[in-house]
């Protein structure tokens, strides 16, 4: 299975005399054995995209096919580590080649020497089906790693190894199928990254991914197994929002994919997630996190592969029965990598130079999200949250538009809000969530039956405000009738006191649903009470003078998440302020 290099154009290499090479096969290119993937075959010429810098390659060097599609090794040791776009561990890369990444490094994804205390769950003679769990080990203090029979394999167990320490390469047992062929089962397995891992069935989305971010959980929630997009111009806070979600959302496992973004951001994620403790378990967040980094100056072809690497890892843990959230920052860089390679392949460009298959690739990717019953019969999910970096901040460009078609939650970041330092800068007028109806029963049962009603009232107030602001722009706020002034004042309170959330404040960075609900209740109580007073022609200025609006603005900083009984104080303050104004006008 080998040919030789005929032509080289950036990351695209053409190979002659290699008729056995199949589409999507993994190949080693040249003397350095650079890793590549076949992306086109025509006659006896194959086109290969190379995942590393091609400098120094010469025509005539050999190209060796590996006879299998681009695959990665899955097994214990993925968590609490950082990998490049084709799943090479960056810490080992550093040890091998120093701070600057070298080329042609053949480094296994998982440490072949590390010992895992493994428990074997099957006995000789047991009959196993795909998805059956045959062994487990404690991967991190938070995550029990369960080894499942890969899809397509079934048979009778033989030659079982006893419980105890073993490496990812040790054979734990053999599986003999009907035809008498035997397959070794290990702690690790390989899976082609572009093939979705099979499941038993898809289940409807019915549980929210709780993020502790008020505008997300309350106004635009996402379900476990859902897909969301965060588009925004530079500086609007995409990465910041993704980091917050990775830190605080209640998924069991986070796969954080830095795709074509800044090196320092990945360094920061690695540092922060190692230091921060998970609020529930008091273990470092890295114990449930896998980082994948293809920074913007790493090879572009590996960027194209990195999203599939991340997705495959996410699905692998989903199959064990975990709820996984995949944060991809940013999918636009992936789309641009597609465009760049497409250009090198001299394919016919469609909109803005992107290849015509952009939409179908995006669809394939986002459709791998879902809430499922696994082959084993457990429930698991992959939630995908993709950042989008539209050119010039213009949401009408192809990547944003095509992404919008395949996600059901859209958090549109806004440059104007970011300039005013309103963070998270999610624009409540352009964003939406289609999961509201799916999730209502859950909110009713777990928070309060009034939650969705309050949400709708808050949302309506914000929309009324935006209409009123159009008028205010023309004539000023002073001439508005009092009830409209109240709408403006309440909406301001909602914006500043509720929607704005300070990621750097120890209390405000994560807010439980119960507190979000209580905050809405207090705000709406003030609104209702005030409205009743205004109906008696009492001017809003009297209410403002009590300082109650400013006081409620600070709830977010002053009520710790574990002492929600302090809300009673605010409820009394509201009642007291209303009573004062009421009495003054008797």
């Amino acid at each position: 299975m080998s040919g030789h290099i005929y032509g080289i154009n950036g990351p695209v290499v053409t190979v002659k005399d290699a008729p056995e090479l199949a589409m999507m096969d993994m190949v080693n290119v040249g003397e350095l054995a650079l890793i590549g993937e076949v992306v086109g075959v025509e006659g006896d010429t194959a086109t290969v995209q190379v995942y590393e810098d091609t400098s120094g390659l010469t025509a005539g060097e050999k190209v060796v096919g590996q006879g299998a599609p681009m695959s990665i090794t899955l097994g214990p040791g993925l968590l609490d580590d950082i990998f490049d776009g084709i799943a090479r561990p960056l810490k080992v890369v550093e040890a091998e080649s120093g701070p600057f990444i070298g080329r042609g490094l053949a480094i296994p994804t998982l440490d072949p020497k590390r010992l895992w205390d493994t428990q074997i769950l099957v006995h000789e003679g047991d009959i196993l089906q795909p998805g059956d769990c045959y062994a487990q080990c404690q991967e991190t203090p938070l995550i029990l790693h369960r080894c499942l029979v890969p899809a397509g394999l079934s048979g009778t167990v033989s030659r079982v190894r006893p419980d105890g320490a073993c490496t990812v390469e040790d054979v734990l047992m053999e599986l003999t199928d009907e035809r008498g062929r035997t397959y070794p089962l290990k702690l690790s397995q390989r899976w082609p990254i572009r093939t979705p891992r099979p499941i038993a069935e898809r289940l409807p989305i019915h549980r929210p991914l709780i993020t502790g971010q008020r505008i997300i959980d309350t106004l635009f929630p996402i379900g476990k197994g859902g897909a969301a997009a965060i588009p925004g111009p530079f500086g609007a806070g995409k990465t910041m929002t993704q980091h917050q979600l990775a830190k605080w959302s209640d998924a069991d496992i986070i796969v954080y994919l830095g795709c074509g973004e800044r090196g320092n951001e990945m360094t920061q994620a690695l540092e922060e997630f190692s230091e921060l403790l998970d609020p529930k378990s008091q273990q470092p967040l890295m114990c449930r996190t896998i980082l994948i980094a293809n920074t913007s100056n790493m090879p572009v072809a590996a960027r194209e592969a990195s999203v599939y690497t991340g997705m495959t890892i996410a699905e692998y843990y989903r199959d064990m029965g975990y709820h996984v959230a995949l944060m991809a920052d940013s999918t636009s860089r992936w789309a641009e990598a597609l465009r760049e390679i497409s250009g090198r392949l001299e394919e016919m460009p469609a909109e803005e130079g992107f290849p015509a298959y952009l939409a179908s690739r995006l669809a394939e990717f986002y459709e791998r999200a879902g809430y499922v019953r696994t082959l084993e019969g457990r429930e698991g999910s992959v939630t995908v949250i993709g950042a989008v970096s539209p050119q010039g901040g213009d949401f009408s460009e192809p990547v944003t538009q095509n992404t919008k078609r395949y996600v059901r939650t859209f958090w549109g970041l806004d440059r104007a809000l970011a300039y005013g330092r309103h963070f998270p800068s999610i624009n409540w007028l352009t964003s939406y969530s289609e999961y509201i109806a799916d999730l209502k029963p859950w909110y009713d049962a777990h928070v309060s039956p009034k939650f969705m009603e309050d949400r709708q009232r808050i949302f309506t107030l914000l929309q009324e405000e935006s209409q009123l602001l159009e008028i205010v722009k023309l004539i000023g706020a002073d001439v508005l009738p009092e009830d409209q002034k109240l709408t403006l004042e309440t909406a301001r309170l909602i914006r500043v006191g509720f929607l704005q959330q300070n990621a750097y404040n120890a209390i405000d960075t994560y807010v439980p649903l119960e507190k979000q609900f209580r905050m809405m209740e207090v705000i709406l109580a003030l609104y209702d009470g005030s409205k009743a007073l205004l109906a008696r022609s009492i001017p809003l200025s009297q209410l403002r003078a009590t300082g109650i609006f400013d006081r409620l603005c600070k709830i977010k900083y002053e009520v710790p998440n574990d002492s929600l009984d302090r809300f009673q104080g605010y409820e009394q303050d509201v009642a007291e302020a209303l009573r004062q104004v009421d009495e003054a006008n008797r």
Partner: protein, 467 residues
């Protein structure tokens, strides 16, 4: 034995093609010798069987299909490196042009560099005090950051960059800072302006200058920032210098990339720029930073002129997606004679959040800068309202915002090109300005911090503000 290929098979723009070449490597350099003895440098950009396409850095004037002999050197474009580079001037491809002779290199390195492993990076946290209030308070420059200046033709970006160089206390201890200056497609006058300002600041002996002027070949321009960053990485990570890299003008660089791309017949994407412009720019900007266990740092201040002052143009747009913030200059402020004409709202430093506050600058810094941003953004609303209904009709609060906005621009942003304000002076000034607004408008600051710093009526000590 020196193997030379005689003649060419094709010639187009800055590209030449040869046929019957065995064993040429992708990206390797070649020497092209003309029959009159002239030498040029080329680089392999495409291989197709035995046909090889080269880009010629100095351009193809005077080359014919017959008069050129090509020798493949077998190595990529390398730059000679030594600490003797400090104080020297080079052309866009790294050859000395100051008449002081060749460098005695300690090492020669591929100018393309390679990506820093994110695991090896040291997350930048030490701020650089530039002495410019707008920058220090609102978009603090951090050592190891890449913070570009988005400007437009005719604005004072060069003066600002020169002031940063003059006043930045890089590294604290004297003696281990260096400046790498790359001029790409700039006017002779601009290059000379920077040379003079380095001289006036007394730092000329610490500057490594790479010069590709507007009239120099564009293909060389593509190499210029790569040479400069290779020198910077060498000085920082091998020799322990804190290096400030000024790259000007990135717009000319990108246009050179576009010109070259179209001469290769590549499929253009937005505004004719090649699809790989993002990756190409990233391969430059990402070469800023710090590395764990190594003392030096590379801080980049690239300057770009936004065509038609449009921040959504591909060059500033792609740059903003890669760099860690941006300093945006504003045409209106510049025309009003306000220096530095920094537009506060669109400007940003992504790394400042971890490099300011307690233990770095001052505990009240994050909240103060946040509040100044928020309040100044409300000034814009008040101004647009005033332009519709007139100032007299505004509410008292809106009028207070107008007064605050004016004072903020005139007292805080405005600063003499030779004036240095310490971080304390800058922050205290910010607090004084905030007293123009009532306490209840300060919704970004904890009450305790307000009580500690907000002195009712403190603005009266500022000169030239009418109540």
């Amino acid at each position: 034995m020196r193997l030379e290929h005689i003649g060419l098979s094709e010639l187009s723009g800055s590209l030449i093609a040869l046929e019957g070449v065995e064993g040429a490597a992708y990206d390797e350099t070649a020497e092209i010798t003309l029959s009159n003895g002239q030498r040029r440098l080329g680089r392999v950009i495409l291989i197709e069987g035995d046909r090889v396409v080269l880009q010629v850095f100095e351009g193809t004037q005077g080359i014919s299909l017959q008069n050129a002999r090509t020798h493949f050197t077998g190595e990529p474009v390398r730059l000679s490196l030594s600490t003797e580079m400090l104080g020297r001037v080079f052309d866009g491809t790294g050859r000395p042009i100051d008449g002081l002779g060749e460098l005695c290199p300690e090492e020669r390195r591929n100018v393309d560099g390679s990506a820093i492993d994110p695991v090896s990076r040291h997350y930048p946290r030490d701020y650089i005090e530039t002495g410019i209030s707008a920058i220090d308070c609102s978009m603090t420059l951090i050592r190891g950051q890449k913070l570009p200046i988005f400007s437009g033709s005719g604005m004072k970006h060069n003066e600002l960059a020169a002031q940063i160089v003059r006043q930045a206390k890089l590294g604290g201890s004297e003696g281990n800072f260096a400046i790498v200056f790359a001029a790409m497609g700039v006017k002779n006058d601009t290059a000379d302006f920077f040379r003079r300002s380095f001289e006036e600041a007394g730092v000329l002996q610490r500057v490594v200058m790479f010069r590709n002027l507007a009239s120099d070949p564009i293909i060389e321009r593509i190499l210029t920032p790569r040479c400069a960053l290779t020198a910077a990485e060498y000085l920082a990570f091998d020799k322990g210098y804190h290096v400030l890299v000024i790259l000007t003008d990135m717009t000319s660089y990108c246009e050179a990339v576009r010109e070259f791309s179209s001469s290769k017949g590549e499929i253009p994407s937005r505004k004719g720029f090649p699809a790989y412009l993002y990756s190409d720019l990233a391969s430059l900007y990402e070469r800023a930073g710090m590395i764990r266990g190594r003392p030096g740092s590379v801080t980049q201040v690239p300057i770009l002129t936004m065509p038609n002052d449009d921040i959504t143009h591909p060059i500033p747009d792609l740059t903003g997606y890669i760099t860690e913030g941006q300093i945006v200059l504003d045409r209106d402020m510049d025309q009003k004679g306000l220096y530095p004409p920094i537009a506060i709202l669109p400007s940003l430093s992504r790394l400042m959040k971890d490099g300011i506050g307690e233990g770095f600058t001052r505990a009240d810094h994050p909240a103060l800068s946040n509040q100044l941003f928020a309040s100044y953004s409300k000034v814009q609303d008040a101004r647009s309202l005033a332009s519709v209904i007139g100032e007299d009709e505004l509410s008292d609060t809106d009028r207070q915002y107008l007064a605050f906005g004016k004072a903020f621009e005139q007292q805080f942003i405005r600063q003499d090109a030779f004036q240095r304000r310490s971080m304390d002076e800058t922050l205290d000034l910010g607090w004084k300005l905030l007293t123009l607004l009532p306490k209840s408008e300060l919704d970004r600051i904890d009450d305790a911090v307000i009580d500690a710093h907000y002195v009712e009526g403190a603005w009266k000590s500022l000169p030239g503000i009418a109540p």
